[in-house]
């Protein structure tokens, strides 16, 4: 039997939690179920098509079509290539910058912190537009400068698109993750560091053997967010796509969904592909968490 005070407490908790669950149901669950429902239907017409359309239930047909479509599957290969470039550069770079800021080497600490974080304050779409401008031959001062030095680089060729997209994302996210790592580094106990120094560890040894292992949870978290974010890669390549045609309309899985919904008008197909992407992201984040946890508790 719960005491009256416990019951009151539970009621307060329910009251305080209610807004979350209402919003969660309205903004996450409802669209999810609606997408699931839509993914089971397709629009059909017949003959030449001038006699009107009808909605047809096709079960898992849209899922089968998406999985059988090389354009959809290739999107995941693009993401794999992108992640292979982006994650080491961005996470590694953010870590190095955070360690530098944390070391005694840097003077104007808060200035650098702000300067490196600033790009993150620029909305992704604007950032992508600025970068595409810098990538476009004939407009870009960077390219004219490189050309005048005898260097001819085509940022918007299909071969370099992965690097160009990764570069935009690095610019946007390196400062953000650096701040997270730097904050985690502040929590490393000074006694541990002092003990290391007394044992004769230099700056680099301290960083690699003490600081990095101690902020591993922060690194794992950043990795998780980055991986999920990468699967949803959309804004930067979409801007590159509309500005240059260097990449295809289904370059990433999310772009495939966009094309299915808004070029082909096939909402069922788009819903099915979205749910497949969500499933894939869920599976991958489970793996990343498992992997980082097992490393932490050997």
């Amino acid at each position: 039997m719960a005491s009256p005070s416990a019951r009151a407490q539970r009621r307060t908790a329910a009251l305080l939690l209610a807004p979350f669950f209402v919003l969660f149901a309205a903004a996450t669950l409802a669209p999810l179920f609606y997408a699931g429902w839509m993914s089971l239907f397709t629009t059909r017409t017949s003959g030449l098509g001038f006699g009107g359309t009808r909605q047809v239930f096709i079960g898992l047909g849209n899922y089968v079509t998406a999985l059988a479509d090389p354009a959809f599957r290739n999107g995941f290969l693009t993401i794999a290539a992108y992640v292979a470039v982006y994650i080491p550069v961005m996470i590694g770079g953010a870590l190095v910058l955070a360690l530098l800021l944390d070391s005694a080497l840097v003077k104007a600490r808060s200035f650098f912190q702000l300067a490196l974080f600033l790009p993150h304050a620029v909305p992704g779409l604007i950032a992508a537009l600025i970068w595409v401008y810098l990538y476009t031959p004939g407009l870009s001062p960077v390219i004219s400068f490189l050309n005048s030095g005898g260097l001819h680089v085509s940022f918007l060729s299909s071969g370099n698109a992965v690097f160009s997209a990764a570069n935009i994302a690095v610019w946007e996210w390196i400062g953000y993750n650096m701040v997270i790592f730097y904050a985690a580094l502040q929590a490393v106990p000074r006694e541990t560091l002092d003990a290391g120094r007394i044992d004769g560890a230099g700056g680099i040894r301290t960083a690699l053997s003490i600081k990095v292992p101690m902020i591993r949870p922060a690194i794992a978290l950043a990795l998780l967010f980055t991986v999920i974010g990468s699967i949803q890669l959309f804004t930067e390549p979409m801007v590159i796509y509309s500005a240059s045609g260097a990449i295809g309309s289904s370059w990433t899985p999310n772009m495939y969904v966009q094309t299915a919904a808004f070029t082909r008008g096939d909402f069922g197909q788009a819903a099915a592909a979205s749910l497949l992407i969500a499933l894939f992201a869920a599976a991958l984040s489970y793996l990343v968490t498992r992997f980082s946890r097992s490393r932490r508790q050997p």
């Binding site: 397709t42 629009t43 059909r44 017409t45 017949s46 003959g47 030449l48 098509g49 001038f50 009107g52 359309t53 047809v56 079509t65 476009t136 031959p137 004939g138 407009l139 060729s157 299909s158 509309s242 500005a243 240059s244 045609g245 260097a246 295809g248 309309s249 289904s250 094309t259 919904a261 808004f262 070029t263 082909r264 008008g265 096939d266």
Partner: protein, 435 residues
């Protein structure tokens, strides 16, 4: 529901021998079927001059109130329109370019105009454009403008380097070589990497017929002999760097501005864009008929728009009245080009004098560009229709076209891929494809 019953009643009364015009079923010759005098029309368009044409209509038609809403152009707009129809918030009148029209019609997004504007389309427009809006035995839109091809070239550059204006595609290739030899930075043409419209028009000009109908099935032949010939020709020019590979907007106009593009093939509307975008090259540009394969006049269209009544429109009769005025009435046509900077070419040939009088030709040294346009319009190869999944078809082409210049992909192979993607999508939507 109530209004429809009322109209039906009015019609049955008039059928008793008083009035005939005005009722749904009357399609007597060219007489105006739509004579609605009052109503509210919402109007979506991205075409230049749309606001002026709506204002002019409101002034001359006090009973009908047109509310104009500007929309973005391109694929975004077509998604917006499609979603509006699905959501039941469609406008009463909307612009749809010819290539997209069959897709909207086959997706059940448009009102059939047979009884309202069908007779006007029959009587006022030549076959080459009527075939773009009459599909499957019904009328789905009314053409406003067409976009016959022309060759634009820098007369100063051509004169200084003694380069002849090409009349055939063989001579055009020679011209591109001469241009590059005269100035290593300059090119005599462009392969657009983000828009297949021009390439499609060039295939059309060569006699390709990508789409057709046979009984109740679509015929699809993007990889026919004429298309392959055109693809090989342009792929070759691009791979030998005789034409530049650029996207249609900023990079292209920048190249014109910086004297890197001294000749290009485009539609009639490019004249207006050219003088608006590169005003400081006044007097340096001329137009000529588009080169042909055998030296005999042949042309095609790159663009052109029609006006439709989307499904779910609230006042179709007033909408039809508005569409008729803006597409076939001299006063309506005059309102479109009131700015004097639009080189729009009317689909109704009788209205050419209206737009011709409005366009200021000083930029082109006073050249009669509408005469070039008229002969190009007359020479449009008949029999072309657009397909029912042009979004997919165009995307399949654009997805790979930027790889052509590098030599990674053959342009003709892209057409073969697009053929596959198109057939697949037509069948996916439940339509038939003739073997």
């Amino acid at each position: 529901m109530f209004r429809r019953r009322l109209t039906a009643l009015a019609c049955s009364i008039s059928a008793l021998g008083l009035l005939v015009a005005g009722c749904g079923s009357s399609s007597s010759g060219g007489s105006p079927a739509a004579q609605k005098q009052t109503g509210q029309v919402t109007f979506w368009s991205f075409v230049k001059g749309s606001d002026q044409v709506a204002a002019a209509f409101n002034q001359t038609h006090p009973g009908i109130k047109v509310t104009f809403q500007t929309v973005p152009s391109g694929q975004e707009y077509y998604s917006k329109l499609e979603n509006a129809v699905k959501a039941g918030t469609a406008p009463d009148v909307a612009v749809v370019e010819f290539p997209q029209l069959p897709e909207f019609a086959t997706q059940g997004m448009l009102e059939n105009l047979d009884s309202t504007l069908g007779p006007v389309v029959q009587s006022d427009f030549p076959d080459s454009v009527r075939q773009l809006v009459d599909l499957g035995g019904h009328t789905w839109g009314v053409p406003r403008d067409v976009a016959p091809l022309m060759l634009y070239y820098r007369n100063d550059f051509f004169a200084a380097h003694k380069i002849a204006v090409p009349k055939t595609w063989d001579e055009y290739q020679t011209m591109t070589q001469q241009v590059k030899a005269a100035d290593p930075m300059a090119r005599g043409g462009v392969l657009f990497t983000d828009n297949p419209g021009l390439l499609t028009a060039l295939a059309w000009q060569a006699g390709a017929q990508w789409f057709g109908t046979k009984g109740d099935a679509w015929q699809v032949s993007l990889d026919d002999a004429a298309s392959t010939k055109v693809a090989d020709y342009w792929g070759d020019l691009a791979q030998h760097d005789l034409v530049s590979s650029l996207t249609t907007l900023d990079p292209f106009w920048t190249s014109v501005q910086q004297n890197r593009t001294v000749a290009y093939v485009c539609a009639s509307w490019c004249a207006g864009s050219q003088q608006a975008t590169v005003p400081d090259q006044t007097g340096k540009w001329s137009v000529a008929p588009v080169p042909t394969w055998d030296g005999k006049p042949a042309s095609a269209m790159y663009g052109g728009s029609s006006f439709v009544i989307p499904k779910g429109a609230k006042d179709s009769a007033a909408a039809a009245e508005f569409i008729k005025w803006i597409t076939t009435d001299p006063a309506g046509m005059k309102a479109w080009v009131a700015s004097g900077t639009s080189s729009m070419f009317p689909a109704d040939p009788q209205l050419v004098p209206v737009t011709k009088a409005a366009f200021q030709t000083g930029y082109f040294g006073g050249q009669d560009i509408y005469a070039v346009g008229s002969s190009s319009y007359d020479a449009v190869v008949p029999g072309w229709t657009w397909g029912p999944v042009m979004g997919t078809t165009n995307t399949a082409i654009v997805d790979q076209i930027s790889n052509v210049a590098g030599g990674g992909v053959q342009l003709s192979a892209i057409f073969a891929d697009a053929q596959q993607a198109t057939v697949k999508d037509i069948e996916h939507r439940g339509m038939k494809v003739a073997p």
